[in-house]
Subunit: 226 residues, 4 copies
């Protein structure tokens, strides 16, 4: 069954020029469709967006959408995965540039609120709203993405702890990681989607990071008072 073949590298040693071009065009078209779907899902909602609308916006036929994607759900899953990957990359890079100190978290907050949010509000809507509770498959991907983000944050927190003293409780790192994600989620949604206060995002990010830093320090052993 040769169905829904995603671009595969040719086995040939040197693919012909035209083959390369076709390959490129294929990926472009796939991304065009994905973008169209992403925009519409964020703007109109997953359920209220019909496949025909997506095809129209991507300037292809319905059949073409189905040539590149198994079904509507597949479209959402791919979009979700792409966004999750992007987000992880973004935060992961921030952590790497300042490992072992709280500087990593500061950078991550800054890049999230000052870069990601204003530039990709539709991805915020997608990952934090449209992908919620749509189907078992989508939910599974969502869980995986969130789990990975939490794991990354947890790792960053543990490397901080390695420098500044252990955490006071068994779950502290995991709880903080999930908390930080929750904060980012609700703050972005609150200031970007519900209220349109892009101009406040920088300040929000600063306060959020300070809040996080205070919270993290309070869960370290070296600190005494609570």
């Amino acid at each position: 069954m040769k169905q829904h073949r995603y671009p595969v590298e040719k086995d040939q040693a040197s693919p012909s020029r035209s083959a390369l071009r076709r390959q490129r065009e294929r990926e472009q078209r796939l991304q065009t469709i994905l973008d169209a779907a992403g925009t519409l899902f964020a703007r109109e909602g997953y359920h209220r967006t019909g496949m025909e609308r997506i095809a129209d916006k991507a300037e292809v036929s319905v059949g073409t959408v189905y040539f590149y994607f198994k079904n509507k759900e597949d479209l959402l899953v791919k979009l979700l995965d792409q966004t999750g990957y992007e987000l992880r990359n973004l935060l992961g890079t921030a952590f790497k540039n300042a490992d072992g100190t709280l500087e990593g978290l500061r950078k991550a907050g800054k890049v999230f609120f000052e870069d990601f949010c204003p530039n990709h509000p539709e991805k915020i809507a997608l990952i934090f709203r449209e992908s919620a509770g749509q189907s078992e498959v989508v939910e599974a991907h969502r869980k995986k993405i969130f789990d990975k983000l939490i794991a990354d944050l947890q790792t960053a927190l543990l490397s901080v702890a390695a420098n500044l003293g252990a955490f006071r409780s068994r779950l502290a790192a995991e709880v903080m990681a999930a908390s930080i994600l929750g904060m980012f989620e609700r703050l972005a949604y609150h200031y970007l989607i519900w209220q349109d206060r892009q101009e406040d995002l920088e300040a929000v990010g600063r306060d959020a990071v300070d809040f996080i830093v205070g919270g993290v320090q309070n869960l370290l052993h070296t600190k005494q008072k609570s």
Copy 2:
């Protein structure tokens, strides 16, 4: 066209006994339907739950559901409002019993993670998943609920600040309020819905509260005690 009359109090000075009984039965039935819908929405998802399914579970006919609720969306909105009201009450009570100190936040965290979460996991699913991005009307209600919860938290934080010194930034209180809500949301969802770790909820709540306390202190100008 038939109007959707919701149960209204009789204007009579002293309603007859049978009128009272009817009134009570009416409210009971309404709540039965609401409960059925809530359970199904949380378990199967809003869109995958048909009106007939709800009627069946409530042991009434489809027509009856439409007698009590304008439409399916109305069902979700009512459910959402009810849950929001409950949550606000719960947290508001916690704040009142220890106003002006961080003790209010501690109590709120405790009651949320140790009472609300384990007893109403379906309400967590409803308010944090099923009500997300279903329609403009639902989203508006959702926004209102979240705004109120944030406002409540903000008020509580400001009364803390009144005791312990002002916050360092204009937005601090609002940001912290939204952050706390986001934390509760993601933590509850993470530990209750995605993983089934009810037994950890207490510890999670403790760490979350400590995290919050640290965060709040870090955003105060003067920070001595809690």
Copy 3:
């Protein structure tokens, strides 16, 4: 899940008059739809008949068709079963009126070619053409129907043998039963569907029966020469 409820007897001791009427109307409507589908399937072919056409012909909406039948396949299966049941009844009755002799077969042939064929050509098309190879489920029902018809014929043949002497081979009865069914099938199809020679049906039936009688006798022990 209270879906696709077929008319069920009320549990009440004495169903109200209106309930009885509704029940009757329900069965009538179900049959109306079934008839519409049967006619169209036979005339246009199962695959070339859309659900909308069926609904139109039955003067109901598409939704109503789906209220009474699970899906298009269900429609075909019910039709097939009904036809199979009818056919079995018809032949079975013929056998009963003359058990133990070849007279049963004669009667069965007569009733098939002179009653069933001219009166229900669309059922011939349905059972011998449209139901062939449409899906696993349909094929299973088809097999069951044919198996039963063959079993009935076999029983009749064996009761003949009980009178006139055993068959010469282990499989003889089964083979003859299937053969007779095949004969009826192809003859009906040939003279009724492909050529429109209703006027010949009677003669065809007579010859067919004589052929069968000769065949049966030739497989009995009592006869010597082959």
Copy 4:
């Protein structure tokens, strides 16, 4: 518009060697596609088999299939014709080798049940199931094939009658011919497709032939020997 040229013999007096090779390759490819389609139609059903599936199995592209065949229906028609031709040849040969006596029918039965059936079950499925009621064009070809088979059988029966005495009725020969075809059809389908009793096929064929012989004799005016 492109025309669908079927491989035609070159008009040249002596085609070049390479032309010959090309011609051969063309026919091979055509047959490969036909075989792929035949297998899939028999196994999965005509409607449930997509053109892409056929192309895959034949290891060519969809476009290539359309180069050799006008459309999907054409594929089925060609397959059907091929099978019909094969079957006629088979039976015709049997008749020729023993003309004028019932021996021809015996041979035909033997070759059908002992050669054709076990070796080409997929062709049984194709001619007796998949080609039924698919479209007017297919049905027309099917009718033509059956008509020819019946005509052949009728001829054989009449040559028997010429030896042994006339048939008792005007339609007898035609009825018997159609009957025999129906018997073969249903028996093959019953024992080969529905039940997998290849091992019984020989015995089935013997009984069937005896049945036929008895039947034929019973329709002759004078009946002595076979």
